[in-house]
């Protein structure tokens, strides 16, 4: 099984590599650092997509992480037994919502709401920083980050929960015996023991976030720009591939799309490997994240 997955990944990577020969030769490393994406003049730079991918993913992780870890702590350390299973099931149901449905909800419910309430509020309170300036369209990198947070919440929560559950009770007892309160036990015995694993869970969530396509495409605005403001529309590698491969009429254009795919594949693989290495130490989470 592991061999099969490895072979598949190598094969896909090789195909992407072959498919992107044209742009690899034509632009070299410039492809990664150039910010023009101009199919008409056959000039291709992936920087806006790389930027959009990372910024939206990082926003997603920053939002999801405290919520997920908080929930995982609540579920393993605090919640009464009868409540644990139902809450976890609810969270796992969130993961079962198809991306496109979440995207629809994003467009018709979340984005208008963000545009009318939270975004103007952010602009008023944090508008002095460059990140919350400029016109508010609703569709934006920030909206994409929020959708991503919703999508990666279940995975980070459930892996963190397994990590926390793998903390030996002898660690908790050591802290309790010193007269620690529940919260102190969680802090000194549980979280410090689990922090590497939780970092791994976060990386796993990041891996998901980077490749998330459908829902993000629907709320990010799809404009290959690099703007400081999080209210501005953006574009991600995955969205660009999904949107533009059918329009890629020239060979160079197609090659550029393939190269975007190659970049995305490499980035997600590296992230996932790091995540698995961190989590693997805890003897849990030996799961391969599902693709999109």
């Amino acid at each position: 099984m592991a061999m099969f997955v490895l072979a598949l990944v190598v094969l896909v990577g090789w195909k992407l590599f072959q498919g992107s020969q044209l742009t690899l030769h034509k632009f070299g490393w410039r492809f990664l650092v150039q910010s023009d994406w101009d199919p008409v003049n056959e000039n291709y730079g992936a920087l806006p997509f790389i930027f959009g991918t990372f910024v939206s993913s990082i926003i997603g992780v920053l939002i999801a992480l405290p919520l997920s870890v908080g929930t995982a702590i609540y579920l393993t350390e605090l919640a009464p037994n009868w409540l644990r299973q139902p809450v976890m099931m609810l969270i796992e149901m969130l993961a079962a919502i198809p991306s496109v449905i979440l995207g629809l909800w994003g467009i018709f419910v979340m984005v208008p709401w963000l545009r009318d309430w939270p975004f103007p509020f952010l602009k008023k309170t944090l508008g002095f920083t460059p990140f919350f300036q400029g016109p508010i369209y609703g569709v934006s990198i920030l909206a994409a980050g929020i959708i991503i947070a919703i999508m990666i919440l279940p995975i980070i929560t459930s892996v963190s929960r397994e990590i926390l559950r793998s903390v030996p009770d002898s660690q908790r007892e050591a802290a309790y015996a010193l007269g620690a309160t529940r919260w102190e036990v969680t802090r000194i015995a549980v979280l410090s023991y689990a922090k590497r694993g939780i970092f791994g869970a976060t990386m796993l969530g990041l891996g998901r976030a980077l490749g998330e396509t459908m829902a993000v495409t629907m709320v990010i605005g799809n404009r290959p720009e690099i703007a400081k403001s999080l209210f501005a529309p953006g574009y991600t590698l995955a969205s660009a591939i999904a949107n533009e491969f059918s329009e890629a009429t020239t060979e160079v254009y197609l090659s550029a799309i393939f190269e975007l795919g190659l970049v995305l594949l490499l980035v997600t693989i590296v992230t996932n490997i790091v995540a698995q290495l961190l989590i693997g130490n805890f003897g849990v989470g030996k799961r391969v994240p599902a693709g999109h």
Binding site: Q171, A180, E184
Partner: protein, 277 residues
């Protein structure tokens, strides 16, 4: 020795499980009365009553599964953390009801140090941090005071000389015996009144065990110590009083000399002479 040769008066005393006057001339630390403990519907301790003398070592012996750890953990309210555990009875420490509604269980545990069978230092903390963590929980921040207590505790645990040059090394870089002494230092640092030890040397080699035993003999000058052990020689070497448990009942509680030379109960005699268990 057969059951028939035991004077009736002794038997009567044993039937209640205590013989306070003959056993405890020194002040009483723990006074356990009518203690019954269940896990779910499974009763583990039956009507246990015993008085643990202060500033002495009391050993708890008995075959495995007889409820020794369960008794020990009731003394610092560790069962509060096990949802299925239920307790009846009364336990006082120096006259104060440990299970009173008014008392905060975390404060109880702060007064009563505990050392576990398997050493459990905090792996992400250094040697020094492990020792001072309880103090820092109590809000102690002054570094010279922490430093002082760090040294005192490590000295009391007979570990200072071995670690004084690497206090900031990770706790898990120590050997098994050192880790257990580190756990003892950690328990001592918060200056508890009592030290509970659950087979603290059972995972250690003979040299490390001897270290721990010497340490216990030293500590009993200042602390009340209750130690669970399955090692009869160890109980004989270090304790003044010994309680023998069998199937959740306190069979006999007396001076260690008595338990090991002229026990009142046949079961005790069989156990200490190695005929079962």
């Amino acid at each position: 020795m057969t059951l028939n040769s035991i004077p009736l008066s002794r038997l009567a005393g044993q039937a209640t499980g205590i013989e306070a006057s003959s056993v405890t001339p020194s002040p009483v630390a723990f006074d356990v009365r009518d203690l019954n403990i269940w896990f779910g519907s499974h009763q583990v301790l039956f009507d246990v009553a015993l008085q643990v003398p202060a500033r002495a070592v009391t050993a708890i012996i008995g075959p495995s599964g007889c409820g020794k750890s369960t008794l020990l953990r009731s003394l610092n309210r560790m069962h509060d953390l096990v949802p299925s555990a239920r307790m009846e009875g009364r336990i006082t420490l120096f006259g104060e009801d440990l299970y009173s509604k008014k008392i905060d269980p975390t404060l109880v545990r702060r007064r009563i140090g505990m050392v576990f069978q398997k050493s459990n230092p905090f792996p992400t903390m250094s040697i020094a941090e492990n020792v001072t963590v309880g103090l820092r929980l109590n809000g102690l921040r002054k570094s010279d005071l922490l430093q002082e207590r760090l040294e005192t505790s490590l000295r009391m645990a007979a570990l200072w000389d071995e670690v004084k040059d690497r206090l900031n090394a990770p706790a898990i870089s120590l050997s098994g015996g050192q880790q257990q002494r580190l756990c003892i230092a950690r328990a001592l640092a918060v200056q508890p009144e009592v030290l509970l030890m659950d087979e603290p040397a059972s995972a250690l080699d003979p040299i490390a065990t001897a270290h721990i035993e010497d340490l216990i003999l030293d500590l009993k000058k200042e602390f009340t110590i209750v130690i669970v052990t399955h090692n009869m020689q160890q109980a004989a070497r270090i304790s003044e009083h010994t309680a023998f448990f069998y199937l959740g009942k306190l069979v006999e509680f007396d001076t260690t000399t008595k338990i090991f030379t002229t026990p009142a109960q046949k079961q005790t005699e069989d156990y200490v002479t190695g005929r079962f268990g």
